[in-house]
Amino acid sequence: MIEGGSVVEHGTHAELIAAGGRYAAMHRAGGQG
């Protein structure tokens, strides 16, 4: 996951969803839409 020109999170999809960070937030936003 990149944001502001840097890698802010990395890992597998499952790990990132479980961590509940930026990636998970973006995924939720996309899923709802």
Partner: protein, 565 residues
């Protein structure tokens, strides 16, 4: 202008130039003999010579005339071959320069401008190598020959002849007026072309309608049409003045020569035949004189074309050596990490840093780009020049470090504008990092030419570019020894087996302009098949089976990069 053409450094075969100059000089010089001989024939006839006695002289007249005609045809044939050869030598160099610009430069250039540079502008330059040098040599030799011949008849004719250029001052003045309008007419033509191009494509028309600007565009076009009419009328007016002034000038010279002739003949200084000769010369001098004074317009036109060609040749952003494949590219290092980003930063260059003078002036160019660069907004380049203000820096990537190992699939997620496409461009070696290092197969991409980097990488972009050619050519482009079986295998691998069966022409199917014969998804799969095909060929050429393929896909709502190794 001659010096300027010489500075282009074209390979000129001077051995071939010599016979052309010689033939042109003969074509200009031999006709002068005809009036001189005619004068003698008339004098001889007046003195009672019969036809039989005059036959040798008449034969000589015919020989001079035929010799001049033959020399002229020969000079034109040889001259055209050499001249157009030089012109296309320049066009080839221009094309080579235009193929070697930074990819970002193309986002600042409308493809139509490049086309026009290689066609219209080069055609404007053509006369510099063809008609202008021939006419210049022909004109000056012709004038010199006439001057010498008139001098041999009587020095008074020569004195009157020297006055001719003075009488042509009016012609030159009118020519100056025409030249002043040429530039304006080119600007109007460019504006007309730009309006047509920016309003008549499907996308453009849709935009015009959305803006409810159809009538406004018509009015804008009408304004340009009015300006064009005014300019064209002014130009034709001056052309008519030139033509009339030229004719009048010669009529006056004829009267002057006749007056001098009658005066000298009545004083017994010259024969009647000589007077007739001198009058013939007035007619003979028209062509060379027209050639000498008539080169200004073609020269100005050619100079304008050459200005634009030279601007491309001299631009630091064209003809890059880092684009075409190196003779000996660095050898890949076989290890597990096939793609490594080490503290990579990327800042968009300013528009000025990638622009090419006279090419990048036309706005709205990025609409012509497809593939991963279609995501590069021109505003980024403008921001980098300081136009965007401090709160919108052109820096897109700050400090990116990661490694992709063989067999791994990596997705890059991020919001729009976060730099996903830029990261892909860096990984392809198409752009170079501003900071840090990108390693492909263990090699720093800064050490690779762009074409060498593509040995290891295949790209499937969100907007796939296909050539208007058969499917086979699109799959095998750049790949020697691609058999149909291999291509069909690759299509199956990309999930296009079913589609291929439905195509009556199979691999011979024309894909249409930009591949529009196929749907967006099918175009992407064709690009995947290209990537698969490349992976096959890498295996067969013994290259390490590394980084054979990655692709870039776009989701329904947000885009993400996917790298498959």
């Amino acid at each position: 202008m001659f010096k300027r053409v010489m500075r282009l450094g074209l390979a000129v075969d001077w051995i071939k130039v010599l016979p052309i100059v010689l033939c042109t000089a003969l074509a200009a010089g031999l006709p002068v003999g005809v009036p001189l001989l005619l004068g003698r024939i008339i004098d001889a006839a007046l003195h009672g010579a019969g036809l039989v006695a005059l036959l040798p002289l008449l034969g000589l007249v015919a020989a001079f005339a035929s010799g001049a005609a033959l020399a002229e045809v020969l000079a034109n044939t040889l001259g055209a071959r050499l001249g157009y050869g030089l012109s296309w030598q320049l066009a080839r160099r221009l094309y080579a320069e235009l193929l070697r610009m930074p990819l970002l430069s193309y986002t600042t250039i409308n493809p139509g401008v490049l086309n026009s540079r290689l066609t219209n502008d080069m055609r404007m330059v053509d006369p510099l190598f063809t008609t202008v040098p021939l006419a210049t040599v022909h004109g000056w030799v012709g004038l010199a020959a006439v001057a010498i011949a008139l001098g041999t008849i009587n020095v008074w004719f020569l004195a009157a002849f020297v006055l001719v250029p003075l009488a042509l001052v009016a012609v030159r003045f009118a020519e100056g007026r025409i030249n002043a309008t040429i530039k304006a007419s080119y600007e109007i033509n460019a504006a007309v072309a730009s309006q047509i191009e920016s309003t008549t494509s499907g996308d453009a028309v849709s935009l015009v309608r959305q803006a409810r600007a159809t009538a406004a565009e018509e009015r804008r076009f009408a304004g340009l049409a009015d300006q064009s009419v005014a300019l064209a009328a002014r130009m034709d007016n001056w052309r008519a003045v030139i033509s009339v002034a030229y004719r009048l000038c010669f009529d006056l010279i004829t009267v002057l020569f006749l007056g001098i002739g009658v005066l000298l003949a009545s004083a017994g200084q010259i024969s009647i035949g000589s007077v007739v000769s001198a009058l013939f010369f007035v007619g003979l001098v028209r062509q060379p004189l027209g050639e000498v004074v008539g080169q200004r317009y073609p020269l100005i036109r050619a100079g304008m074309g050459l200005d634009r060609v030279e601007a491309v040749l001299h631009s630091p952003n064209t003809g890059l050596e880092t684009v075409a494949a190196a003779a000996r590219p660095p050898e890949p290092v076989v290890n597990d990490e096939v793609l490594v980003f080490e503290q990579v930063g990327y800042t968009y260059p300013g528009r000025q840093a990638v622009a090419v003078k006279t090419l990048s002036d036309v706005a709205g160019a990025s609409s012509g780009m497809s593939g991963f660069l279609s995501g590069v907004p021109l505003t980024r380049l403008d921001e980098a020049d300081g136009g965007g203000g401090a709160e919108q820096p052109a820096r897109i990537l700050g400090d990116i470090s990661f490694a992709v190992r063989r067999g791994e699939t990596v997705a890059i997620a991020g919001h729009s504008g976060s730099g996903k496409s830029t990261l892909i461009s860096l990984a392809c070696g198409s752009i170079r990092p501003s900071a840090g290092t990108v390693r492909l197969a263990g090699i720093d991409t800064a050490e690779l030419t762009e074409e060498d980097a593509w040995r290891f990488v295949s790209l499937v972009s969100q907007d796939v570019y296909l050539r208007d050619a058969p499917l086979r050519d699109n799959l095998s482009y750049g790949l020697e020894h691609a058999t149909d079986d291999r291509l069909v295998d690759a299509l199956h691998e990309a999930g296009l087996g079913e589609l291929l069966r439905q195509l009556p022409d199979g691999l011979d199917t024309m894909v249409g302009q930009r591949g529009k014969r196929f749907s967006g998804g099918e175009r992407q799969r064709i690009a995947i098949a290209r990537a698969v095909r490349k992976a096959f060929s890498m295996r067969s050429t013994g290259l390490p089976p590394i980084a054979p393929c990655w692709w870039w896909s776009i989701g329904h709502r947000r885009s993400s990069g996917r790298i498959a190794w």
